[in-house]
């Protein structure tokens, strides 16, 4: 007896609610952009400079007392958040303190950090500082540039690759799906105000990689079916391809999610934001390869009658398949 996520034969019409699903995606992307513009992102020190100090203590944390102690130092805007994690011991109380970049300093001066540490030791003598990180405004500016470069670079490289291997319509469809995934993830981070740092950029790129992986598998089958059923309408070919690959799509998403959920719950709070982003991205990426990428291809149409030309142009590398 085998575990089957989907029956061996499916005939789901993925375009039945095309207007609804595609519309929902468009609304979600627009909402994400609005969220990003209005609420902004909770940038970590990687992107806006400043210092974070992780504190750990056997005593329970009194955020108010911490704040009072640090406010006395007049360091501008500070944020103190207590960190909760199921993997912590009972007497392990962790807080994350963020201090903004001090004017005129490239990186937090030692005195600032020392002053904060001493002030906190007054409040709680058992406090320790397992991690102190400080990024100057110069570096954070460069990191923003590098991040934008990385995400756009990845998108462009993928467009080019898909365009070489498939028709340009597929390339546009794939990128629409990717932009959809990235935008919605950023929107979620904006809505939940989860710390957005360099690791999240890595997560975004991973989402891009995963989502394109999924989309390519569907496209690959579509390409095969387009050759096989030369007269079948495009919408049916797309639907057939999605149905044929549905089992694989869900299998892979499930194994990936199983691994990610283990990491999300057991991997500790340090990388939780990062893992959360990827987990979310796998869900969105799976959705978008079924409901976004194909719809765009359908809207653009694919030229199927190549009788007029000797060789299909633009897919010089399309015949590598065994």
């Amino acid at each position: 007896m085998r575990l089957r996520l989907v029956p061996s034969e499916t005939n789901i019409n993925f375009f039945r609610f095309a207007g609804l699903t595609f519309g929902a995606s468009v609304v979600a992307v627009i909402a994400s952009i609005i969220l990003f513009l209005t609420m902004g992102l909770n940038f970590g020190i990687d992107f806006r400079g400043g210092t974070t100090i992780r504190t750990e203590s056997v005593q329970s944390i009194d955020v108010g007392a911490y704040r009072e102690a640090i406010d006395a130092l007049d360091l501008g805007d500070i944020s103190i958040t207590e960190v909760f994690d199921p993997t912590f011991r009972d007497d392990q109380n962790v807080a994350q303190i963020r201090i903004e970049a001090q004017p005129g300093e490239e990186s937090a001066s030692t005195e600032t950090i020392l002053a904060v540490e001493q002030a906190l030791q007054q409040v709680d003598p058992s406090i320790t500082f397992p991690a102190v990180e400080s990024v100057g405004p110069k570096v954070s500016g460069e990191l923003i540039q590098a991040a934008i470069l990385a995400v756009t670079g990845a998108l462009v490289a993928i467009v080019i690759y898909i365009w070489l291997r498939f028709e340009w319509q597929f390339s546009v469809g794939a990128v629409a799906a990717l932009i959809h995934d990235v935008a919605i993830t950023i929107g979620l981070f904006s809505l939940l105000q989860i710390k957005f740092d360099l690791a999240i950029i890595a997560a975004l790129l991973t989402i891009v990689g995963y989502s394109i992986n999924d989309t390519v598998v569907v496209f690959d089958r579509t390409r095969e079916n387009l050759r096989k059923y030369k007269t079948m309408p495009l919408v049916e070919v797309l639907n057939l391809s999605a149905n044929e690959t549905l089992s694989r799509t869900l299998m892979t998403s499930t194994t990936t999610l199983l691994a990610l959920l283990a990491l999300l719950f057991l991997g500790g709070d340090v990388i939780r934001g990062f893992v959360f982003a990827i987990t979310w991205g796998v869900v969105v990426g799976t959705y978008s390869s079924i409901y976004v990428a194909k719809n765009v291809v359908l809207m653009l149409g694919v030229k199927r009658d190549w009788s007029g030309t000797d060789k299909p142009k633009g897919n010089k590398f399309a015949d590598i398949d065994a």
Binding site: R2, L3, S8, R54, E106, S107, A108, I113, P130, A131, V132, E133, S134, G136, K138, V139, A146, A147, A150, A154, A157, I158, I162, L198, A199, I201, A202, L205, T206, V208, G209, I212, N213, V216, V217, F219, D220, E224, E244, S247, R248, M251, T252, T254, T255, T256, L257, L258, A259, L260, A262, L263, L266, G267, G268, V270, V275, I320, D321, A322
Partner: protein, 553 residues
């Protein structure tokens, strides 16, 4: 049909065994690490029974490469330092001034008197009293230019001189700046390395980044401050003639003089000649010691040319005070009692024993050619790192178990083939990481866990395809054959796109993110290998032995 040549089988098994053997040391991490350390000590010439015993903990016929743990897992300090390369320009121009003065003074009839004017630190401004002589002066100063020795800047000269009426402006040429910057960076790297080595920390990473930055990573230190104390001090030691002593911080000084505060006496300043008699570069040794009153001090020795300059100066200036200046502050300003030949001496000041030891280390390692700015600093405690390792291990084990059970339930025997390949795949990732000496970071562990989830994808693609081919009843062998060949293009396309994103991450990212890109990219390569070759080989071996009439996938 289902055939894999013997040669190919041997190659596949050889690669697998190679990966396993390379990964093996990581299973005994502490033991191998201790053994490697002991071997390094023995190699450096020291040897005793204890060391040999520790070295013998790991047999030397096995590979001993380990995955490097990143700072976020091992704990330690990470500093990104910017070298103020422009600092050096001012020194170069200061050194040029006596030459300019001398060459112009030799033609006083044409150019008149020569004075140095106040200017920015990146230029030298010289005024001559006879404006008509400007053309001749320009010619003379240009004659001082020397060719720059660089690969690209061949033929360029080191200075650019322009005249505006009676004022000549000398700046360093672009080629000279580039050459100077490179020299400065090399010196700074070397000196930071020496200072950190002197302090005896293990396996520091000190590498140049970009035009004017240095990345310093020191595992195992409790705070970045310790490292900053060590590398943040310029330790520029000079011996300058004293002109006067004053208590007025706003004293006006001539362009060839400097005003330096006293280190010990609050509110006391010295007016010094800008050009030093000797500088710390001429030191060959510095040791902590004590003066005749038993207070901590630092004794030093000059090289022959420094000794000569110092000896000559002291012989000519008996009774005059001179200042020992460290990073712009006067440590002490003794009066020269007698001619000091031999080039050794002692620096006294209000040192603690620790400070004198530190100063000796810094003087021995040499002065930094330029000041440093700390752009980024991160300290991770070792406990937090160990915590991350433990949690990462647990999460990876649970994730792996879940995936294995799920694959077994979904594909039966074929699923277990894929599971075996998955475990081999993980071993191979560690094997290659060890071989490359790559660094494993916390996001890197996440990358491995993600690989566990995604690695089965290629197998899933194949198995699903075999299921489909079975429906058209071509017989099991043919179905397996077709499943592999038809799934190939999807596998290749899907993985190349992920590989593209991983390489971009590697190129753009730094530190932990780069660690993630490495494990993700490596995981893709090894998982495609295991899916296309290893599971296939398992299936073929099984098929040859059993010859089943029907198969269930």
């Amino acid at each position: 049909m289902l055939q894999i040549s013997l040669f190919r089988r041997i190659v596949i098994f050889a690669i697998l065994i190679g990966g396993l053997v390379l990964a093996l040391p990581n299973a005994f991490y502490t033991r191998v690490e201790q053994s490697n350390d002991a071997r390094a000590v023995i190699e450096s010439g020291l040897s005793n029974d204890d060391l040999s015993a520790v070295a013998g903990q790991w047999p030397d016929f096995l590979p001993s490469g380990l995955v490097n743990l990143g700072l976020d897992l091992r704990g330690g300090a990470h500093l990104l330092v910017e070298v103020q390369v422009e600092d050096v320009y001012a020194g170069r121009l200061d050194a040029l001034w006596p030459e300019v003065r001398d060459v112009l003074a030799a033609e006083r009839d044409t150019v008149g008197f020569v004075t140095r004017e106040e200017s920015g630190t990146d230029e030298l401004r010289v005024r001559i009293s006879e404006a008509e002589g400007a053309a001749r002066a320009l010619e003379l100063v240009r004659g001082l230019a020397r060719p720059v020795v660089t690969v690209t800047g061949a033929g360029a000269s080191d200075i650019a001189v322009s005249a505006d009426g009676p004022v000549l402006t000398v700046t360093l040429s672009e080629a000279e700046r580039v050459a100077t910057d490179n020299r400065t960076m090399q010196q700074a790297l070397e000196i930071i390395r020496r200072r950190i080595d002197e302090a005896g920390t293990r396996e520091p990473t000190i590498q140049r980044q970009g035009a004017d930055r240095i990345l310093v990573q020191v595992p195992g230190v409790g705070s970045a401050q310790e490292v900053k104390d060590l590398i943040g001090t310029t330790a520029q030691l000079t011996f300058n003639p004293v002109i006067t002593r004053t208590t007025d911080p706003a004293t006006n000084v001539a362009p060839d003089e400097i005003l330096a505060p006293s280190l010990d006496e609050e509110g006391v300043f010295f007016v010094l000649e800008r050009a030093p008699v000797v500088s710390g570069e001429e030191l060959v040794d510095a040791q902590p010691s004590f003066d005749q009153n038993g207070r901590p001090a630092v004794s030093f020795r000059f090289n022959p040319s420094g000794a000569r300059a110092f000896g000559d100066y002291t012989a000519e200036n008996i009774g005059a005070p001179f200042a020992i200046v460290l990073d712009g502050e006067v440590i002490s300003a003794p009066t020269i009692q007698s001619h000091i030949p031999g080039g050794s001496g002692i620096i006294t000041g209000r040192f603690t024993a620790e400070e004198s030891t530190n100063l000796a280390v810094l003087l021995r390692a040499g002065a930094l050619p330029a000041g440093l700015t700390f752009l980024e600093e991160r300290t991770i405690g070792p406990e937090l790192g160990q915590d991350s390792i433990d949690k990462g291990k647990l999460a990876a084990a649970v994730g792996l178990a879940l995936v294995i059970v799920f694959m077994g339930l979904s594909y039966g025997l074929f699923g277990w083939f894929a599971n075996l390949a998955l475990i081999l795949n993980l071993c191979m990732i560690f094997g290659v990481l060890s071989l490359l000496g790559a660094t494993l970071t916390l996001p890197g562990i996440a990358g491995i866990v993600l690989t566990v989830g995604m690695a089965v994808d290629a197998n899933v693609l194949v198995f699903e395809r075999i299921r489909e081919e079975l429906k058209t009843a071509k017989g099991p062998a043919r179905a397996i054959e077709l499943g592999y060949s038809r799934a190939l293009s999807a596998i290749i396309d899907a993985n190349i796109t992920t590989l593209i994103t991983a390489s971009i991450l590697y190129a753009v990212g730094s530190g932990p993110v780069r660690g993630f890109a490495i494990t993700l990219g490596l995981g893709i390569v090894t998982s495609v290998f295991t899916a296309i070759f290893v599971t296939r080989l398992f299936i073929v071996l099984w098929f040859e032995r059993r010859r089943p009439r029907t198969i269930e996938v």
